[in-house]
Amino acid sequence: MVAARFSPAGWIAALFRWTSSARRKYGGEWWLMVAGVVVIAFILTMTVFPHLFTRFDPNDQNAGSQMTAPSSSHIMGTDNLSRDVWARIVYGAQTILGVAIAAALLSAIIGIPLGLLSGFAGGVFDRILSLIMDSVYSFPGLILAIAFAAMLGPGVINITLAVAVVYIPTYFRLVRGQTLSIKEEVYVEAARAIGARRGTILGRYIFPNVIATVVVVLSLNIADAIMTEAALSYIGLGLPAGIPDWGMDLSMGKKFLPSGIWWMITFPGLMIMLLALGFTMLGEGLAEILNPRLLEK
Amino acid sequence: MPQLEKTILEVQDLSIAYPITIGVVRAVEGVSFTLDDGEALGLVGESGCGKSTLGLSILKLHRPPGRVTGGKILYRGTDILSMSDRALLKMRGQNISMIFQNPLTSLNPLFTVEKHFLETIHFHDASMPRERARAAVGKMLETLGIEKKRLKEYPHQLSGGMRQRIMIGLALIMNPDIIIADEPTTSLDVIVEAGFTDLLMSLRSIYKLSIILITHNLGLVAEIADRIAVMYAGRLMEVATTEEIFAHPLHPYTQGLIACVPNILVDQKELVTMPGSPPDLVDRPAGCPFAPRCPQVIPICRQKTPALIQHAPSHSAACWLYRQKEG
């Protein structure tokens, strides 16, 4: 049995068994998750191998003629600078996906330890930190991101930071709340009774219990971060020129909307929606499978 | 047949099933019994044996996705299960009422006591003038022994016992024939429970009620019920008058239940318990559902399910032990 566990065939068989049993058990939610994964995988492939998806360069201003409607040579048409819209989408995926994932991870890396410590330690430290986090949480995240982005100036790193700041309280509040309730559980009490050190309790007992929820929230959070990134670059705060980006393309398209150039806004927006939807579906599916009560609140 | 005129409610071969992802839960299977006018019937069984589902189904209120897979529920000769929605609404509260397990959560927290009453009256008799409705409510409170000023209060301002009395008042306000009480005392403390029993008995004679008392509390059932039906795993095991059940229980399950009640007259060192636990209602074994726990099990018990057979004028049991004796 031990040998089988380490063979690739065994792994695949186990994975298959697990997926088929999960599929039976969760029905609709399972397919929701699969749909999410498919969308994400597709766009992820696009970021890694963009040249497989298009033969045009996103910044090539001689890709075709100016503002032509979708045709066989340019499936999504061309923009005002004669660039291929599809090529810009393919290469723009890198920007939005990279920023969103990096920002969500960054806020998780900052928010989770703070939440764990705050919930575990309690006292004045907890109260002050909670007050700050709650205030930020109740404040419109986009305005905060706008303020940060405006202060930091354009740039990929800066926009990532601006988006990340918004979501730190999300993780903090989630993890702190869970830590507080897990802290009171009997098995943690028991661990303390047999003399486990605080660090051990935090790392061995509390953190693993929190992590399942964090995975779900991370996925939903990336969906949100995608829209925040797009919003920032749509209003012109995010990125320096030259980096293909869906939000920026949308604001470009907006200028030519009155002349009925529909393809410049339709496709980038659709992609933002699809990508966000992919992560939302993945998150919701995971939530239903890991903890059905999680999202009911 | 004079017997028929006396019968107010008749349940015939009722089965209720809940389809779930891993199979079908048969909560109630082939249950038949009758309730006479003015009679109090106790429905006794362990939790999860289907007695609450049975009680709710009499109002056609069994929780979805449960559905009736067979049988009839006749109220004065009309099948409740095939009534129109409109007729059902009229019947609920006016002909048959229900008192629930938890008085603390059975009143809407956003409605005053008065609003609960007036709403109930309004939906059964929209033409009744407001003053008359208020007068009726006032009279009901008097009967229940609750001050009138409580009418303007919200449920959270009342004690548990008071809320239970309000629940009874709501059940009785339209003067129904039958009241179904589902574990009415489980969440009350002992003193309040005694008061509840007295109140129910006095109301019973005032309103000429028939009662179905659903409970696992044998003491309560002995005090109130004329007849007792013992339920196990969705089936009726034994039906008899209260005296008969306690004096000569036929079914080993009933015998076990009664043995479990601590007796202060006998010097008892330990609590008697019944070994094992009720069967999974999804994968029922063949034969008598009690067979795996039965101390007097015989081979046929595991092969065929015994039917409920009358053994004395007012005593029936579903057990192979007695059928064998009769040949």
Partner: protein
Amino acid sequence: MVFVMLTLVFVVLRVMPGDPVSAMLGGHAPEKVIQQKKADLGLNKPIGMQYLDYMGKLAHLDLGESMIFKQKVSQPILEKLPATLELTFFGLLLSLGIGIPLGVFAARRRRSGRDYGARLYANVVYCIPVFWMGLLLQLVFGIFLGWFPIAGRTSPRVEVSAFSKTGFYIVDTLRIGNFAAFGDVMWHLVLPSVTLGIVLSGIFVRLTRANMLDVLKSDYILAARARGVPERRVVYNHGLRNALIPIVTMLGLQFALLLAGAILTESTFSWPGMGRLLLERIYLRDYPVIQGVIVVYTLFVSVISLVVDLLYAAIDPRVKY
């Protein structure tokens, strides 16, 4: 809470890297000019002093003066605030109007086709970027069909100065009985508030559905049914009223999303509100105004959470103030 938020605003705008004066004057301004300007604006004082100054002035509702124009910060804010309020009011109204009935509709039959349909709607709509929704509506109803205007609060032919007094055009036009102008104002409101309303309705579908599912499981719902109360009344009067309590509590938090959505909608529809003001002044690097706008948003959020608390007390008899 307000205090913490205001402090945070100060920290973000003053302590963060980035020097407003040199940004405003351009990189090549002589050092002397920069220092002079800083002194004028009080930016040469120690950071602690600056903070006390800022808080002290705020206590008197003084937001300072613009760095670019000769005007008080409060002037453009007071001009733009009514536009934002009108937009958010109708947006919220619409999203509640769509979200709550749809949520109830879904919760009445869990795991049925309508439930999955409503949940799909909620998820898809939630993932539509507000500005894209706005652009699409502009394209279809403004450009292709030509039914609605795609920018501004009024048509050029409408003389705003003839009725503008409070800045709330709806109120102003009705007050003087100018129904033609009122119609024009409402006509301009349609697309922006529909944009905001639809995108936010997804959240309310989810909130309503989840809370209704919880409430419909309660004992008092079953008890009401057992008393012969009709289904419609059970769902709406017993069920929805109880479900509204957690929904109202969440409303305060959703308001943040509403304001964020409003900024993007304003930007898309050239709606002369606070969001546009914020973005314009960010391009101009007019820091006192940027700060002022954010302060006003903060106050806005606090007022809303107060209103939510009052509303909560009004619905739930268990809460007393």
